[in-house]
Subunit: 189 residues, 2 copies
DNA sequence: TCCATTTGCCAACATGTGTTGACTTTTCTC
DNA sequence: GAGAAAAGTCAACACATGTTGGCAAATGGA
């Protein structure tokens, strides 16, 4: 009998399977429409297992929606390319495997209080500080707010609502056009 | 007996009361979390009445989420002020009584198929044509797409998520800053 | 092997949902 | 005022949800 939980292989695998299924379903249905039963079915196990492993639907969502914007240090960058760098970074994060938390959060943020609060503190903790190093502190909230509108809109239209003209935009166009906007918002030029 | 000449029929009044309550609740909770019972309670009537007057929750939502962007003819405007005019117009519509349909739609679009489809056809039928008169037809979808990201993002951040730094932006700043962005997106300059 | 622990499934509960039908009250026309 | 139609109420159904407890099966160390 070990006090230390070393590696219970089987349980870790099912736990991961549940998490993966939950990510997929939360991301495509949103918090309210996603059901424990559907997640369990997608993971190939019994709905009760979800409760045993994660405690509740709320806690499962919280765990699966966890992620980080992981912004680079903007002060160290070529000042003329801050906008483009920002957009490119966001695109990479949203499309990466580990960054799946953002679509999940965004899909539910409009109707779920926890997701909305999480989104809010995400910008407060990561975007606002990034703006502080780029210009006068007084204008940082305004610059962060403007940046937020453009980035949230891009993510919403492209990955959640999937508006055809936005989905069709190629990466270069997005980086150039929206990059120019972010450049202006972020530096206040 | 007609005691109050200017009052509408009783049935029209309750129908209007239900619609008003539904607008309020759909706008703040989203389609899934809003319940017929809650709407009925807010309207001060029995839940059954909602069914009698509107048939189903779906049809009530569809009716209440109906609205129009009602864009002005951009070709007739001062070409340098197209961006500002657009933003100012959107702000007016969203904050007007009759334009309440937009927040309703937006709040539900991320998790409700009907609302998402409605949003999609809204841009296809109103924003895209507006872009056609402002520049080359080939680039119209791209310009409309970019405009959509910025406008949806502003609406989402300010009216749905209520991100503090975006809520705090005063109207003039929004018109100036975001107007400049829309100007560039819409005219392709 | 044995047996305790882990892992899993089943049935069921409590609750909230949209929705329906039967019934009562109000309203309006003649 | 009588009677029909409209407006409103009540109880309940059928179903889906998150969640719980009991019990079987696998697992792994002694």
């Amino acid at each position: 009998m070990n006090d230390k939980p070393l590696k219970m292989k089987k349980s870790d695998r099912t736990r991961a399977a549940i998490a993966a299924a939950a990510q997929r379903i939360f991301a495509s249905q949103g918090y309210e429409r996603a059901t424990i039963r559907e997640i369990a079915a997608a993971a190939g196990i019994d709905p009760t297992m979800v409760m045993r492993y994660f405690g509740s639907k709320d806690r499962l969502f919280a765990e699966v929606a966890e992620f980080d914007l992981d912004l680079p240090d903007l002060a160290a960058l070529d000042r003329d390319r801050i906008g483009e760098t920002l957009v490119a970074h966001f695109l990479s994060v949203w499309e990466s495997e580990s960054g799946g938390g953002f679509p999940i959060l965004l899909r539910s943020a409009a109707s779920n209080d926890y997701a909305a609060a999480r989104m809010q503190q995400l910008f407060a903790a990561q975007v606002l500080p990034a703006m502080l190093v780029l210009g006068p502190p007084d204008s940082a909230p305004q610059r962060a707010g403007l940046v937020a509108t453009q980035m949230l809109g891009l993510a919403l239209a492209r990955y959640v609502l999937r508006l055809p003209p936005v989905v069709m935009l190629d990466r270069d166009t997005i980086v150039r056009e929206i990059g120019a906007t972010l450049q202006r918002y972020a530096t206040g030029a």
